[in-house]
């Protein structure tokens, strides 16, 4: 009896510790986003004088924050970076998932590429991005892809394609080939089988992979920083630009950081129905 109470206490203690550890930075961000410049370096969690200026200045950049003017390089509201992020991450994810699904299907059912193809594609992700960002920039410059939507979208798709293939192959492997073969014998063409049998059954996996890849693309910083100049700056890049002559604008960075999480949350909420179906689906025996 004593040991049971003990383990329970330890468990709850651990949960509390891990929760604080995980959520503390988020809590600090929330706190910062409501603080004026005077308090940005202060250790108190609750702002003594809460303000909304940090959020307002995201959309109206010339609005003084906490009553003082900060000279920054930002002259535009965040609407453009927001849209850029949505386009780049959204379309990048779409292409990655589309191509990735078909590739995964080939690898899973037809053993395309041989036995080690997954390993080789994963290898591409084992190189840190920084190692090839310079040659990439040179290449992009030569084909005039710098600061273009096409450049960024293609890059995001290419880089996350590996994850897409890897994740979705797992989900496709879960579907017994017999079901597809049964459909074939019913007269369906391989494409029909894909559309009517495989995709409906892997919907959950597709949704989960799509969300994961979207978050990857959405929070991608390095390549966006290098590729974009003015036209295709994404939100992470925008956050990094909130500096002034006298220091970084932590309050505004915090507020933008929080605002930037909203699309991912919305997407997750929208597809959660499919996520649940995907993960609780079991064999029909």
């Amino acid at each position: 009896m004593v040991t049971k109470a003990l383990t329970e206490t330890v468990r709850y203690l651990l949960i509390v510790v891990v929760s604080i550890w995980t959520l503390a930075p988020v809590a600090w961000m929330v706190s910062l986003s409501f603080k004026g410049p005077a308090e940005w370096y202060a250790p108190n969690l609750i702002p003594l004088q809460p303000i909304f200026d940090n959020y307002i200045s995201l959309f109206i950049p010339t609005n003084p924050i906490g009553g003082s003017y900060f000279f920054t390089s930002i002259t535009e509201p965040i609407t453009k970076p927001l849209i850029n992020s949505l386009i780049a991450a959204g379309l990048g994810t779409l292409f990655a998932v589309l191509v990735g699904f078909l590739a995964a299907y080939g690898v899973s059912r037809y053993r395309a590429g041989g036995t080690f193809i997954i390993f080789f594609t994963l290898l591409t992700r084992m190189l840190p991005g920084a190692t090839f960002v310079a040659p990439l920039m040179v290449f992009y410059a030569s084909i005039r892809f710098i600061d273009t939507y096409a450049g960024l979208i293609l890059l995001y798709a290419a880089v996350t394609l590996t994850y897409a293939i890897w994740l979705m192959k797992g989900f496709i492997d879960e579907i017994p080939p017999e079901w597809e073969e049964a459909a074939l014998l019913e007269g369906a063409s391989p494409w029909t089988v894909l559309r009517k049998i495989t995709i409906p059954l892997t919907k959950g996996g597709l949704a989960a992979s799509a969300l994961f890849i979207f978050i990857l693309n959405w929070s991608e910083f390095l390549f966006a920083l290098v590729i974009s100049v003015t036209e295709v700056t994404t939100l992470p890049v925008q956050i990094s630009k909130y500096v002034s002559a006298v220091g970084r604008m932590y309050g505004t960075m915090a507020s933008l950081g929080l605002v930037a999480t909203i699309p991912s949350l919305v997407l997750g909420y929208l597809i959660q129905k499919h996520l649940v179906t995907g993960f609780t689906f079991g064999r029909i025996r």
């Binding site: 017994p176 073969e181 014998l185 007269g187 059954l201 029909i284």
Partner: protein, 363 residues
């Protein structure tokens, strides 16, 4: 013309030879059973016929047409998988209707056809259920119904009863048998259960290691097993097999096995080819040994009971005859126990003889 002709099929999986050289035919309305232990290649044959695997060499003819290069969706063959492969995200109705929808049949016709098929396999009452809620025997019927909805030329069944518990299996076996007679479609049926094979098939092909050892009707295979393997595989309890050698004693021909000496002078003709001392294997099925408490038959041999297995009206007696353990199936004799003495008579008409080396039947 035969509905299905399979000629010299050979299939390699890497270096593993799954099928060595398989040939057989199935006539219209005939049910052929491929019977054999796991791994003998029977499912591979089924998949090759359906078009899901490509043979390394050999040909498959449907209605006289070579179909080797025809993809599975165009072969008009129905296949019921071992685990039924029901589409879980569709209802029973939609499962059966699947092929019809692919062919873009009109809705009215489709509904009629699905209902017809459903009544054939007795799933009318559960047509609207989602497939996830079905029990095993219902799933099996839906799977069969789905294959039949398209009026296929040939029906293939891959161990359809192996997932069902013993009690339900008997009922399903009878139902399947009735269904086959009703529909009258050429069927190839794969199983490792000899009882299923014997009851459902018009002909049985016994397979081992990628080869067919014998094809014939159930009684042909039972009474005239051509190889040792077939003799041993069919029959429950299995045939008693005893190594013996031929001894010529004057006019008599005797098969000696340990202390057992069986006079087979009546069959001297067939045994003649064998030289003195040649090794053979004597086979006799347990039910072909007559047992009696007294020596009523002059050629009866003394046997000591080692174990009695009661199986209802009959019992299986484990006997020790001249140093060998022999199983006999006879009527339950209440006073016979372990240690009792019985007299066993070999029914000479039912004696099988196999060459020890080639394992082929001599008689």
């Amino acid at each position: 013309m035969p509905k299905l002709v399979v000629k010299n099929l050979r299939k390699m999986f890497g270096t593993f030879e799954a099928l060595k050289d398989v040939s057989f035919q199935v006539e219209e309305k005939e049910t052929l059973c491929l019977l054999g232990p796991s791994g003998c290649g029977k499912t591979t044959i089924l998949r090759i016929i359906a078009g899901l695997e490509v043979p390394t060499s050999g040909e498959v003819f449907l209605d006289g047409v070579l179909v080797n290069d025809l993809p599975p969706q165009r072969r008009q063959i129905g296949l019921v998988f071992q685990d039924y492969a029901i589409f879980p995200h569709l209802s029973v109705f939609e499962n059966i209707a699947y092929g019809l929808r692919v062919r873009k049949m009109s809705e009215a016709e489709l509904v009629k056809k699905v209902r017809e098929t459903a009544s054939l396999v007795d799933v009318e009452s559960i047509l609207d259920l989602p497939s996830k809620k079905l029990g095993l025997s219902e799933m099996q019927r839906v799977a069969v119904g789905r294959s039949l909805a398209l009026d296929p030329k040939l029906l293939l069944l891959d161990e359809p009863l192996s997932n069902i518990d013993a009690k339900a299996r008997e009922r399903m076996r009878t139902e399947l048998g009735k269904l086959q007679k009703e529909i009258g479609i050429a069927t190839v049926y794969v199983t490792h259960d000899q009882l299923e094979a014997m009851t459902l098939a018009d002909r049985i092909a016994v397979m081992r290691n990628g080869l067919i050892e014998q094809i014939g009707t159930a009684s042909e295979i039972y009474d005239n097993a051509r190889t040792l393997f077939v003799a041993n595989f069919i029959g429950s309890p299995p045939m008693n097999l005893m190594d013996c050698e031929v001894v010529y004693d004057g006019n008599r021909v005797i098969l000696k096995s340990g202390d057992l000496a069986l006079d087979v002078t009546e069959f001297a003709e067939t045994v003649r080819g064998k030289g003195e001392g040649e090794e053979l294997v004597l086979g006799i099925r347990p039910e072909d040994l007559s047992l009696d408490v007294q020596k009523t038959n002059p050629s009866a041999i003394e046997a000591k009971v080692q174990l009695v297995e009661p199986i209802g009206a009959r019992s299986i007696y484990h006997l020790r005859i001249g140093g060998l353990t022999v199983l006999a199936k006879g009527y339950a004799m209440p006073d016979v126990n372990v240690g009792s003495n019985l007299w066993a008579t070999f029914n000479k008409d039912k004696v099988h003889l196999f060459d020890k080396k080639t394992e082929e039947a001599v008689v």
